[in-house]
């Protein structure tokens, strides 16, 4: 609780709210933390106390008091060798899982908890990490969460409290900026680019979008929000007539008047496409990564359809990332085998950015996620192309990037 008090004071919050749904990465260790914390005692308690709770003393961590889940982790327990992980990394990951399970935390191991059985109701006070899940929680589900961090979620799991600040409060949730969408926005790629544009222009503010977009499905929301939360810090958006707190423009804007307005037309879309492809020079592709945020079952079906029984190019690796829950279904339905037979791998729990894991000697990646393009080249020092899922599968089959601007 002491950490939450320091955090609440830093924010300028006056009180706490009771939270009933917490998503974080409690007690997760890594090679750095393993070496850093040499104190004796139960390893999970040591890391949870000293790091997660930022405490100066080691405590025996009690069971969680509210519905709590573990988000994505650093490795896939079934494919850790393919990911190039050391046995020590697998051991650390599995020890962390065992510790979290002991506390009663659900091990969902995904950045898309809302696709893996954790779907809060409208108005629920949540405490979630993972910017793409946070923006989905606020915008699409109408539940309430700030972008929490590891330390605040780990503390909230035990206490069931989180500072009453930001998105927990009605007055904070109204739109501050307006985006007029002047071109049709339909495909997953269209929505990813629009999201990247929105985050770029509104930063950390709350946009309301009006205009020529179609009705997005879950996957389009997922990619739009993830992109907006990467180029900027968007934690909530309103789509008039679509998202739950935006039946009308007036409802979305609330008391805010004369919203600063941006136009998204052909020129803006073109600029975003070029920005997202600014880390690509070599058209020879050696890695295709899909599943950022973790693939929904529909996306895995789509990948299988695009592969169409063919084998990927021998110089390319195809890795698709999803949650363990979705892969259990994909295994049963035969999708995992289709991807494997084509020469790819369907993996769980992590991704190339989170796990910092690439196929050996990767130079150029092809990605269908604006969020992943934002992060992966910066983290791993590689080139990357951005396009549609079909562009990416085409690159996997041919070894060449042939993506075309919209």
């Amino acid at each position: 609780m002491e950490l939450l008090v320091r955090y609440g004071e830093a924010l300028g919050a006056e009180r706490f709210v009771d939270t009933i749904n917490v998503a974080g990465v409690p007690g997760t260790s890594n090679m750095f933390l393993e070496k850093y914390y040499t104190q004796p005692g139960d390893r999970y308690d040591v890391i949870y106390s000293l790091y997660d709770l930022d405490s100066d003393e080691i405590v025996q961590v009690p069971r969680v008091s509210v519905n709590s889940c573990h988000l994505q982790g650093g490795t896939d327990p079934d494919n850790w060798q393919t990911l190039g992980m050391k046995p020590e990394q697998l051991r650390i990951s599995q020890a962390g899982e065992a510790g979290a399970a002991r506390l009663g935390i659900k091990i969902l191991k995904t950045c898309t908890p809302y696709l893996a059985g954790n779907v809060p109701n409208k108005g629920d006070h949540c405490a979630w990490m993972e910017s793409s899940a946070v923006v989905y929680c606020n915008s699409v589900l109408g539940a309430r969460t700030n972008t929490e961090g590891r330390e605040s979620t780990s503390a909230a799991m035990i206490t069931g409290k989180i500072p009453d600040w930001g998105f927990h409060r009605d007055e904070f949730r109204f739109a501050s900026h307006r985006i007029d969408v002047e071109i049709p926005v339909e495909s997953l790629m269209d929505w990813g680019m629009l999201g990247y544009y929105v985050g770029d222009v509104v930063g950390e503010r709350i946009p309301v979008l009006m205009g020529k977009y179609g009705k997005p499905d879950l996957i389009r929301h997922k990619h739009f929000g993830a992109a907006a939360a990467s180029s900027g810090g968007v934690e909530m958006y309103h789509l008039v007539g679509i998202t739950p707190e935006a039946p009308t423009f007036e409802a979305a804007a609330g008391p805010n008047r004369n919203l600063e307005t941006f136009r998204y037309g052909k020129a803006e879309q073109r600029r975003i496409y070029e920005t997202l492809n600014s880390r690509g020079q070599d058209t020879n592709v050696d890695y295709v990564m899909l599943g950022c945020p973790h693939a929904a079952l529909e996306q895995i079906q789509e990948i299988c359809r695009l592969l169409d029984g063919r084998k990927i190019n021998s110089g390319v690796r195809l890795w698709v990332f999803t949650s363990r829950a979705i892969r259990a279904v994909a295994d049963k339905e035969g999708y995992s085998k289709i991807i494997r037979d084509a020469g790819g791998v369907l993996m769980t729990d992590t991704c190339s950015a989170i796990g910092q894991a690439l196929p050996p000697n990767t130079k150029v990646a092809a990605l269908d996620s604006a969020k992943q393009v934002h992060y992966l080249p910066a983290i791993m020092g590689i080139q990357a192309w951005f396009g549609s899922t079909a562009d990416c599968i085409n690159a996997a089959l041919t070894g060449r990037w042939n993506g075309v601007a919209p």
């Binding site: 950490l3 790091y51 930022d54 910017s131 961090g149 605040s152 810090g233 880390r279 910066a378």
Partner: protein
């Protein structure tokens, strides 16, 4: 004789520190934007790409990006690469929690814009408890 400019704001995290300022007009991405082991900004399009904030007084508009913000700056503290103090404009949960777990003096809500008044290389003293920022321009 150097001039001293004093800004008044609100405590985020208490304590006093002074050092050389590192100023950016762009918000900072933590996870995926910073290498905690070296204290260096790595975000592709960031104006401070390749620059280290280790032992600096970091002056910025605020935080953006991944929810791993606090965790990255927390690990920077453990690795000894964290800034000495934080001065920023835009309060978010990311930067609030990050400042708390870095345990460095941090101030926000200043009466004048620190991005206008502080330049990289200025000597800055941050008094978190009093919410004060003192700027000394090099002679």
């Amino acid at each position: 004789m150097s001039t001293v400019i004093t800004l008044h704001g609100r405590k985020v995290v208490g304590g006093v520190a002074e050092g050389e300022a590192l100023v950016t007009r762009q918000t900072i991405s933590g996870w995926g934007g910073v290498n905690a082991m070296t204290g260096t900004i790595i975000e592709t399009r960031h104006e401070l790409r390749g620059v280290s904030f280790k032992d600096k007084i970091l002056v910025c508009p605020g935080a953006k990006g991944s929810s791993g913000w606090s965790s990255v700056f927390h690990q920077a503290r453990l690795a000894g690469t964290a800034p000495k103090a934080m001065v920023f404009n835009e309060m978010t949960t990311k930067i609030a929690l990050g400042c708390v777990v870095m345990r460095v003096p941090s101030v926000t809500d200043l009466d004048r814009d620190p991005l206008e008044l502080i330049e990289t290389g200025d000597w800055v003293r941050v008094d978190g408890d009093q919410g004060l920022v003192e700027i000394r321009k090099p002679a």
